[in-house]
Symmetry: C2
Subunit: 359 residues, 2 copies
């Protein structure tokens, strides 16, 4: 596996987005968001997806010159029509609106319709941190998940992210799919020809399966909790809330109508809304209590949980965001590793777009 | 098991709250919230807890004549000092403030400190529904849950609830602990002398346990997801977010400092805040899109999910809130069943307080 300097890959991604029509600012934003995934170790959501975005553009399913605008608002809320934009571009714009609303109203909440895949949710939530705000980001996605007792795939992996600032400690950043395992974890097992643990997947008849390729044969991912006895109805609730906040509030497609990310699958021909939906929140901590008090207590919260007695001395209790921060420090210094399949894919994309892939 | 008419039990609970000093209005509110749990089939959070509240009052840990007040606010937020109130009283007051804020700001968000156990979260979230708002309620609780990799109990079962209105369909009401199993489920197994499923509990060494009494020997409940491979770090994130929103935003105790509900255990003697904390939200749906559009699409969402192909024809896919609504209809008609242990406990309480237990 080769590694590549972060800045080389960032420039490459930016030029790719420019090549499909993004202006300089949007291309830079999209590249920043995309590479944030590679930097954080969430390899499934970074450069591995770049050619997927380009294929959607070529099918006229992404608009790289969108007129992103507020279509409905109140002092603390806005609904944004992303006009078919890359989610990598519309999501940071929507989060900026949420932050702007929070500046005056204390909190800001933005629902987005007619968008596309927005990369990693944690990037958007973390935009609130420099403003001493708590950030929240969520998105719906194409249906791969069967609710409890369901044979049908009705929900996406529908991630939610929460970013919470601290004083001297690194921030708390939780970013997770509302399923037992994210689809990216299945892709890793597929590449390695390994079986999946029980409790991640059901087959086309609704029985437990260990085949990481089961989704290609009508299977489904399971909500967080795996089965009813272990709380899968709670994971189903979480995925449903993300779907409703992202799409029923905004006017996007929801549930089984969410268009697929892959260009070779057509969107449903009876849409109930426009594109996919996101939901963002920003809460000023000093809208609740003096800022310094909040930040000091967050330091104490983080230190207390980090120092909880571990079961195994060599496996300490983690604070959400630790793993991604370690990966980022490591990859900024030593480069971003890309598997050969992704490198080949990016080289082919470079040829198509008339670019040079670095290295 | 005997059953009792709802209204008899409601009046009994109200007189009990009056007997410990609540005024007429607060006693009625507390009784309404408490009995809502029994009506919904969440027996662990209803009358079974009444004597627990009274014991906390007798230890001067509940203030039945509180001065509940806003101590910090912005257009869309408020922080409430519950002054040691019953959570059954402070939570509906805080939710009313959230709804009031949402009327003008589009959304309202209220953090509460110095409170006590607030009954079922879903009751408070559902207060938003008649206002065509989405309601959110969460609370922290005394530490029974070990984060992923932790030997120590650091978090409560920290429930979250979401109530979402629809047009002609009953509302979507999700209310769940952020653990694999709620503590009430262990209590049921204890009474029946049955083993718990694997994945619910760890023992004092951090190993999986099937003993429903394990918490008495230093064991812990597990976050939703059960173990790292099945996403327990996500349940840990959810429980942590509930803890931080409820207590670090409000100035209540968090993590291992949350005071226990049971009167025979003293609160930690080095508190980091006051009492336990809650967090509430109300979002006007017409702050995002025209109300009728939202409600019609929620009907479609609910009908679509309810009609998803089931794995077993006799076990249809449920909408969050279905089970509680069925229980409520059944129990309003046929009475509320109480196990003999709870009846004995309530009879003893009646004698102590000089009341008559019905039946």
């Amino acid at each position: 596996m080769n590694t590549f300097p972060y800045h080389d890959l960032l420039i490459f991604a930016k030029t790719a987005f420019q090549a499909i029509g993004c202006n300089d600012t949007d291309a830079q934003t999209a590249a920043n968001v995309l590479l944030a995934a590679d930097l954080s170790g969430v390899d499934s959501h970074g450069l591995a997806r770049l050619s997927g975005y380009v294929r959607l553009f070529k099918k006229n399913r992404i608009n790289t010159t969108p007129h992103i605008r507020i279509i409905h608002e109140s002092p603390s809320t806005a609904t944004v029509d992303a006009d078919g934009a890359l989610g990598l571009v519309s999501a940071p714009k929507a989060m900026e609106i949420a932050i702007h609303k929070a500046n005056t109203a204390g909190t800001g909440w933005v629902a987005v319709k007619h968008s596309n895949h927005f990369g990693i949710a944690g990037y958007h939530a973390a935009m609130a941190l420099p403003h001493d705000m708590i950030g929240i980001a969520m998105t719906n996605a194409s249906p791969l998940v069967a609710p409890t007792f369901s044979l049908s795939r009705m929900l996406g992996t529908n991630p939610m992210a929460f970013a919470i600032p601290a004083a001297s400690e690194p921030p708390f950043i939780a970013d997770f799919a509302t399923t037992t395992a994210a689809n990216g974890k299945l892709e890793i097992l597929q590449r390695k020809n390994q079986l999946a643990p029980s409790g991640w997947i059901q087959d086309a008849q609704g029985a437990n399966s260990n085949n990481p390729n089961e989704l290609a044969s009508g299977g489904a991912l399971l909500p967080l909790g795996s089965d009813r006895e272990h709380g899968s109805h709670k994971g189903y609730c979480l995925g449903a809330v993300v779907d409703i906040f992202s799409a029923v509030l905004s006017g996007a497609n929801y549930g089984p109508w969410v268009p697929p990310f892959v260009a070779f699958l057509d969107p449903p021909n009876n849409p109930v809304g426009e594109g996919i939906g996101h939901f963002f929140g920003a809460m000023r901590v000093d809208a609740f209590r003096p800022k310094e008090e909040f930040l000091q207590h967050m330091d104490n919260w983080i230190q207390t949980f980090r120092n909880a007695s571990p079961i195994h001395p060599n496996q300490p209790v983690q604070i959400p965001g630790d793993a991604e921060r370690f990966a980022k420090n490591e990859r900024l210094e030593h480069g971003i590793p890309l598997v050969p399949k992704v490198v080949d894919d990016l080289k082919q994309l470079s040829e198509e777009l008339g670019l040079n892939f670095p290295g």
